[in-house]
């Protein structure tokens, strides 16, 4: 369907209401200080600098958390083992966002994905390689980490995920 035919809006049965006085108002909100315990993250963030990714494992249920968590959601204990993870993963779910450039008015299509890292049990929000055609995205698509040039020890060190090209049968689940 071409974009020329696309309707901007749909008509619906509207009723006009009497306009009464409208008083504009503002809330000037204070800035807040949210507190987080990040002691469990330090080791993980240090290793990101060296292009290594780790997750922490709960010894109660053997679940691996990437990024690491302070408390296992099921056993309610502290995950105490560190596990090395591979750089590859699968697309757990995805959505395509349409962003309008405020200056040019051009609409960009960008897939944002949740990646299920191989060896981990949780998913992390991430971006795909901007060169990937969004129509090719599907659930279960194999991907690989693309590291940023200058790493500072944060999740942004993973610049984006590259699509892994592999023709093996088991790497190609049905679209």
């Amino acid at each position: 369907m071409s974009k020329l035919t696309q309707r901007k809006s749909l008509d619906y049965v509207k009723k006009d209401y009497v306009r009464t006085r409208t008083m504009p108002g503002n809330w000037y909100l204070a800035s807040y200080q949210y507190k987080f315990n990040i002691t469990h993250n330090n080791e993980f963030l240090k290793k990101l600098k060296d292009k290594k990714i780790v997750g922490n494992q709960c010894s109660g249920c053997n679940r691996v958390f990437f990024p690491p968590r302070l408390v296992c959601g099921k056993c309610l204990v502290k995950p105490d083992q560190w596990v090395d993870l591979r750089e590859t993963g699968r697309v757990a779910t995805f959505a395509i966002v349409y962003l309008k450039d405020p200056e040019t008015g051009e609409v960009q299509e960008k897939p944002t994905v949740l990646i299920h890292q191989d060896g981990a049990d949780t998913a992390i929000i991430a971006q795909l390689n901007p060169e990937v055609d969004f129509k090719d995205t599907y659930i279960g698509m194999p991907v690989k980490i693309h590291w940023a040039e200058d790493r500072t020890g944060g999740l942004m060190d993973i610049e984006y995920y590259d699509v892994l090209e592999d023709d093996a049968e088991d790497m190609n689940p049905k679209k």
Binding site: K15, T93, Y138, L155
Partner: protein
Amino acid sequence: MGRQVAIVSAGFSEHASKRSDVNMAELVSEAVSDCLKNAPGVDFNDIDAYVNGNMPAFEGVNLPELWMTDWMGARNKPLLRVTTGGTTGGTVAISGYYTVAAGLPKIDTVLAVAFEQQSQGDTSVGLGSVAYGEISVLNTMGIPYDQLSRLLSAGAAIGVAAYQATNYMSKTHITEEDLARVVVQNRHNAAKTWWSHLKMPDITVEEVLDTPYISYPLRYGMVCPASDGACAMLFTIEEKAKDMCDIPVYVNGVASVANESAVLGYDGSGTGQIDPSEQLGAMKSSELAYYQAGISFPRKEIDYAEVYSPFPNQELMWVEKLGLFEETTAPKMYETGVTSLKGELPINCSGGVNSTNAIGASAMERPAEAALQIMGKADNQVPKTVHTSIGHGWGGSLNLCTLMVMSDEPQRKWRR
């Protein structure tokens, strides 16, 4: 055990994108007077207590329940405010049920009111205040906030719904046409209901598919509007209910179950749940509420369902998760007309949240409409006799499910 609770009446205000003629308190008063009109025997003096709620931070008014005390007739009476985000309406209705069921002396009749006037405030600020606590954890790991909000599809609920939709679509192998069919059914039903917002009596599947994407796979024509509106429900005990109306509707089971949100990355993945369309909270709440109501075969025993579906893929998902249809068969039911007004199991005959979404009120409009269908007073009345119906709500931090099971006969199994 608690007392048997009955719904005597339910009322709505008119819904529109901009109710410029009324303010918040007048909007509530409209719904309350419609509720009392449906139950002619009831006066303000008969109401013993009030439960009230709306989504916080959407209208820029804190403590609105104190502003509208007089408009509800609540002066010098016990008043409670409950708010749980998108399920506020569902929780307010359940709180009304609890207040009556508790058996406090001199508190027999309770009026529950939920409302929202979204045109008055900034919805995205309200949503941001809800989501920030959850996503700011990722800030501590080095992701800047502007990047985060883009990753979360501009932070709104549609981003999460899009994730649910892609997973549901790949699981069931449906196309966008199936989603559009759900929308068309809802819009046609909404056109026959007096209080609903998006009334489109002539819309077709092609017209819905001709609108641009907001977030793949959800198009502009498929998403819910932002409405102004209010809803009121009157709860009372079994003995008084028979004097107040012809067909009292008995509340036989309620449940409000929270699950992990499972999609916002860090904070929602504590149990390793990575499929956003799994929704264990809905399954658990239905299990609990059906058990209280003594329903063993929901597919056969439930005659009418109102589910909370701002987006069409959610409607398909919820009817499966609430046990009304087998997994992955819901799209076929919409295609063959099982869920239409004259079908075997009509769903969302008021147009659903897809056609009217006043956030704080919409989860209460579901049980209210389901109760009116049993009474036979609904605007878009199902032709067959409805004995048992359910009203469902979804929201919170994307993880809370509320469910109310109603019937025209009281459930005696667990009560003396």
